[in-house]
């Protein structure tokens, strides 16, 4: 029962944060003094991106969608309504493409590099950290410095270096994009084979940094646990090492789960920039071009998606921790 209540609280909390995020997504771009649409359309015109009639259409569309003549709170509800219907608006720069289309084209690529990077990075990183902590000695020192370095290298820095060394100078892997020129994305083996070569470098840039980060964290936690009283007590009672190790792991892993959620946010951020470096057509590149053209609906939509992803990750991590650590549930439900 404590668990159910705990999960319930976390859900409610997530919803609250989501609402705040929606508010921010809505309000912040509208903080520009003056009619945003005028400013935006003016910029579009100045940038030579769209012609006179198109500008007029954009202007009307935007005014209509957001009902800028209506009071702000009403606009907010229209916005929320749209979001919940899955309508994220229409793009400015790529008018009349809908934001949904653009995002659905870009999202799979981003997921393709980020999801495997998170999973592999987390598993390998934690394993490495734990082994280093247990073995100690040179392995530990080397692994620690190495991981520290990898984790403090900004992902895009690693991306740039990898790109340069492997692709440009080494010529081993392609330099940019997601698939070879002339091919169209499809679910065929041939396409996958080609796309994979483009996938390697972005994936490695992310995964290496992530491994570094996890290893450092896990190592600290494992060292901490290794010196704890219960390990000593177990040893004093002649408990086999194998049994104790399982519990060291469990205790050391706990914070890593919480950390997982937070570092997902970090990974996403790093991933966005990495995409830029590799001209990988994911959300990062989309965001980049949207910023460059002041395409507010797209920017807004992407930030919202990022927020949702992080919130879900946080919630999942919290629930998982609740399952594993009995104290958390106890604290939350006031048992102590």
């Amino acid at each position: 029962m404590a668990l159910a209540r705990y999960i319930g609280r976390k859900l409610v909390w997530t919803l609250v944060v989501f609402v705040v995020a929606l508010l921010l997504n809505f309000l912040l771009p509208r903080l520009i003094p003056g009619n945003p649409v005028d400013a935006i359309v003016g910029q579009l015109a100045a940038g030579g991106g769209a012609g006179g009639e198109q500008l007029q259409q954009i202007h009307e569309q935007y005014m209509k969608e957001f009902g800028l003549d209506k009071p702000l709170w009403q606009q907010f509800f229209i916005y929320v309504g749209n979001v919940f219907q899955g309508d994220l608006g229409t793009s400015f720069a790529q008018y009349p493409a809908s934001v949904n289309t653009l995002i659905s084209q870009a999202l799979p690529w981003s997921l393709a590099i980020m999801l495997p990077a998170i999973i592999v990075g987390w598993l390998v990183g934690n394993l490495l950290g734990a082994v280093a902590a247990f073995k100690g000695g040179w392995l530990d020192r080397g692994a620690f410095i190495g991981s520290l370095f990898l984790s403090s290298v900004p992902p895009f820095a690693l991306a740039i270096i990898l790109l340069f060394l492997v692709a440009v100078r080494g010529g081993i892997l392609p330099v940019g994009g997601a698939y070879s020129f002339g091919l169209t994305p499809e679910f065929s083996l041939a396409f996958f084979g080609d796309a994979i070569t483009y996938w390697w470098l972005p994936f490695w840039s992310l995964v290496l940094v992530y491994i570094g980060g996890q290893a450092v964290g896990m190592r600290s936690m494992a060292i901490y646990e290794l010196g704890s009283d219960y390990v000593n007590y177990n040893r004093g009672l002649g408990v086999k090492e194998g049994h104790t190790v399982r519990y060291i792991f469990r205790n050391a892993m706990l914070p890593q789960f919480t950390g997982l959620a937070l570092s997902i946010a970090a990974l996403i951020t790093g991933g966005l920039i990495t995409e830029l470096v590799f001209s990988y057509p994911g959300l990062g590149s989309l965001l980049f071009s949207a910023i460059g053209t002041n395409d507010y609906p797209v920017i807004s939509a992407i930030t919202l998606i990022i927020t949702i992803a992080v919130l879900i990750a946080n919630l999942a991590a919290d629930i998982l921790t609740g399952f594993i650590d009995p104290r958390i549930r106890a604290v939350q439900s006031g048992e102590r």
Partner: protein
């Protein structure tokens, strides 16, 4: 805290940080070229030993001049944003933790919301809406959005310090709220604050470069991030003009790495519990430098968050 407790790692970190600061401080004086002056053609190759020592960038400007000025800019932004962030986090955390009550509830709720929403999202949204973006507005934005984790950690600690006896003594002798905070609570947090500040600075520098690479950087000054932005925009990587992107990358990595190294070695000094071995820790406990709520494990800051220092990979949270 004896000097003997400072590991070689610490000294390496100090040297690296000092080097970077020197580049930013003194560099512009040594490299007398104006970073905005055209000294060559598009991506001219490096030539010893004048302004083209690291070649020219996409506008024909001296890379080394831009590098040096860019380092300075990035450092300034990092410093300002880091200090602002630490200060706000410290203040909010102190008041919330020590005061308790409804004030604590309100502040904690704000902090938790702030922690839940990815900082990048907020920063992007705010930056995009700014009418103009310069060095200082950028620093302010980064500073004002990055303090949440500091507040949470400080709050945890100050609320445990609140129950210690010397606080009662201070209250009994009539000391006021702010006086107690300043003289009886703050000193205990000092070591943590120092480390948090280092992390804030390094995370702010990373943030700035990320923003710049996305095109949201300062519009009138060169920073390491803007150098990379232009390097990517103009395809320097593809054409192999390594001097356009390797120097700023190396510089950025150096800064971040050295700051993190500094923080982690300081962590071991301030929190002897992280040292290996139970006897070492028992010895450390005897030495008396113990921070409550195990700082080294909880909320130790944005270490190891996979290269992008957004929020702490917090171990153990509010156990």
């Amino acid at each position: 805290m004896s000097l003997r407790g400072l590991s070689p790692r610490f000294w390496v970190a100090v040297v690296l940080v000092a080097f970077v600061v020197l580049v930013g401080l003194v560099g512009p004086l040594i490299v007398s070229t104006n970073p905005d002056a055209t000294v060559g053609g598009l991506y001219d190759e490096p030539r010893c030993c004048g302004p083209l020592m690291l070649g020219a960038d996409n506008e024909g400007q001296s890379v080394i001049a831009n590098l040096v000025y860019g380092t300075r800019t990035s450092l300034i932004i990092g410093l300002i944003a880091g200090l602002i962030g630490t200060a706000i986090g410290l203040l909010v955390g102190l008041v919330a933790g020590y005061r308790g009550g409804w004030l604590d509830d309100v502040l904690s709720a704000i902090v938790n919301v702030g922690l839940a929403i990815p900082v990048l999202v907020i920063v992007i949204l705010v930056s995009v809406s700014l009418p103009q973006r310069n060095l200082y507005t950028l620093a302010l934005v980064i500073g004002f959005t990055g303090w949440f984790w500091v507040a949470r950690a400080v709050r945890a600690q100050s609320s445990s310090i609140r129950t210690r006896e010397h606080i009662d003594v201070a209250k009994l002798s009539g000391a006021g709220f702010w006086s107690i905070l300043r003289r009886d609570v703050l000193p205990y947090l000092l070591s943590y604050v120092v480390m948090a500040c280092i992390l804030q600075i390094s995370s702010a520098i990373l943030f700035e470069s990320t923003l710049s690479m996305l095109g949201l950087g300062a519009s009138n000054t060169t920073s390491l991030g803007t150098m990379l932005y232009w390097a990517i925009q103009w395809g320097s990587v593809r054409t192999g003009a390594w001097w356009a992107f390797i120097p700023p990358t190396v510089m950025l990595t150096l800064i971040v790495f050295s700051l993190l190294l500094l923080q982690s070695s300081l962590n071991e000094v301030f929190n002897p519990r992280l040292r290996r071995g139970r006897a070492a820790r028992k010895k450390a406990v005897k030495e008396g430098t113990e921070l409550e709520t195990s700082v080294e494990a909880d909320d130790a800051g944005p270490v190891g968050s996979g290269g992008f220092l957004e929020t702490p990979v917090s171990a153990g949270q509010d156990r």
